[in-house]
Point group: C2
Chain length 340, copies 2
């Protein structure tokens, strides 16, 4: 007698496997990336490795550096440069997280107290600056102006995206386009750059660079949209994160943009009070989740994520089939299915 | 009948002239640097040029970019690269100031409200990140890995120095050596790099690069020591700055290090209360200035500044006499004499 596995569970397991498969594929390189990170965040100023190490060791998935490693592998690169460059990508990402946590006054990240809570905002700002500078030192050591151009451009696009997000914070009139502009810059630009440099080190034609850039960019957008949904989802609690952080911060994410537009005047008044005026009472988060559900704002945000995920998958079409290509496609599913 | 000019006034006038002479020497290039700065801090995110422009336009001396321009001129460089690289140096400096003002909770800079007061800490952190990234983009455009190496190294040394300063903040046991380590990193490293890249663009021998690095480094230390003295000096008020900011922040600068060591037990208890425990009452700043004066801590800090100034001057010995060399030597006097 056959055992029938419900479709959803099967999908979920397959996507969790996808992450394990990618990790396995790049594990040798990833161990070297971790060594490089530990070695290069050293400083005679003890607070620097302490603070940076707290965040770097606190259970991040290393998704971005893994993308660099996998992209280089997809391009059949057989050198060593991907290791140090993947560490650069993680340093830039870590610097951004340190500054983000200061800007958002965050207390928890990945279920662990944030560096700004333990060592204060000042130390987080300055150690972020250090990691960012160190990332550039590593890139200069690598010696490719092309890589430097890609990552310095990505860094300023990220910073622009962060400032744009700050200026649209608490603005319920934010449009879907504006929101996509923010996340394309603050999240997707680093995913795109992380993937692209895999093709650059392998000295592949521009078409492959662009394909990997597009894969990374669309994956990054999908990843961020799922993050936005998770913030309102019970699933979040199982990830050691608290539900409703974005709501309490007055962040206008895509689910809010959709629910605001689809809501009644009375509901809009609710969103304005809670997210613009930042007057929040007991029960408001529950009401918010109720409205998001009623207007299908969470489901439709996930639909958008699937749409970008589809583009990410298609971007890889020009590469011949290989275990690495399958793993990268699996990562798209992983990023989306983690919502469930 | 001869007019007798008192020695001190003469010196003071000569050093003010020195700044005007340097400005005049590089004025064509400096105008181009300013254009480059205005042009390259542009962004579709309007807050970025607004916030950055506030600080950049608020009457900074442009001393660091002028050093790059003058160093290139001293090395008889006749190309254009010094302009964009001088703008990079100013961007890095501005990014540092934005983050410094957040870290120090400063309200005023150059007599003008700081960006963090007007736009908030969050915007200052993120626009600082943008300027820093943009500086690297400009360097990558310039295309010299040697310049990139010098400035990425300087940036991480600066960040290390800032973190070191944070960890020694409010520690009256700080030694003179530790303090010199802090300012060598947080202030002098950028002066050194700014000067050195003048020799790099001119493709001069390493000896000249090193000479300009040494000039910049020692000038930077002297500059910072004079800044520390000015913070306790009536002269400060004439610069549109408030007296005693460092004291109120509990900053341990060289005058404090000297006065603490030379003081009685009773005086040390005073320094511990005011700078470690941060319990300050009316009259404490006046008592601090009294102690600094009685122990010659301000005068001796200026003596140290003169010592570093002497090294800066000597570092230029291998360059033949020229108006630019005389102007750079004049700048050493300017940096020291501004204390009076």
């Amino acid at each position: 007698m056959a055992i029938v596995v419900p479709f959803d569970d099967e999908k979920k397991r397959a996507s969790a496997d996808a992450f394990a498969i990618l990790t396995k594929l790049v594990e040798t390189d990833l161990a070297r990336v971790n060594d490089c990170i530990i070695h290069r965040m050293e400083s005679p100023v003890a607070l620097i490795p302490q603070l940076a190490g707290h965040l770097i060791a606190s259970g991040g998935k290393r998704l971005r550096p893994m993308l660099t490693l996998a992209a280089a592998r997809l391009c059949q690169y057989d050198g060593d440069r991907q290791v140090q460059l993947a560490a650069c990508v993680e340093f830039i990402h870590t610097a951004t997280l340190l500054h983000d946590d200061v800007v958002d006054d965050s207390d928890l990240r990945r279920g662990v107290e944030t560096a700004n809570v333990i060592w204060g905002n000042k130390a987080s700002v300055l150690v972020g600056d250090f990691l960012f500078s160190r990332a550039f030192e590593l890139m200069v050591e690598d010696g490719s102006l092309k890589v430097l151009k890609i990552l310095s451009r990505a860094s300023s696009v990220i910073a622009e995206g962060e400032v744009l997000q700050l200026t649209t914070a608490n603005d319920t009139e934010t449009t879907e386009d504006q929101y996509l502009e923010v996340i394309s810059a603050k999240t997707a630009a680093l995913f795109a750059a992380a993937c692209r440099i895999g093709a650059v080190v392998a000295e592949r034609p521009t078409a492959e660079e662009k394909a990997l850039d597009s894969y990374g960019k669309n994956l990054g957008i999908a990843f961020q949209l799922v993050d936005d949904v998770l913030d309102y989802s019970a699933k979040q609690a199982t990830l050691g994160k608290s539900v409703g952080d974005d709501f309490r911060d007055g962040k206008i994410t895509l689910p809010i943009v959709l629910a605001f537009r689809r809501g009644t005047e009375d509901e809009r008044a609710f969103w304005r009070r809670t997210l613009e005026d930042m007057t929040q009472d007991d029960g408001d988060l529950e009401r918010a989740i109720g409205l998001l559900t009623r207007h299908r704002a969470l489901d439709d945000t996930l639909d958008r994520a699937r749409y970008y995920g589809g583009m990410a998958r298609d971007a890889l079409a020009l590469f011949p089939d290989s275990p690495t290509k399958r793993a990268l496609i699996g990562i798209v599913d992983f990023c989306i299915e983690r919502a469930y």
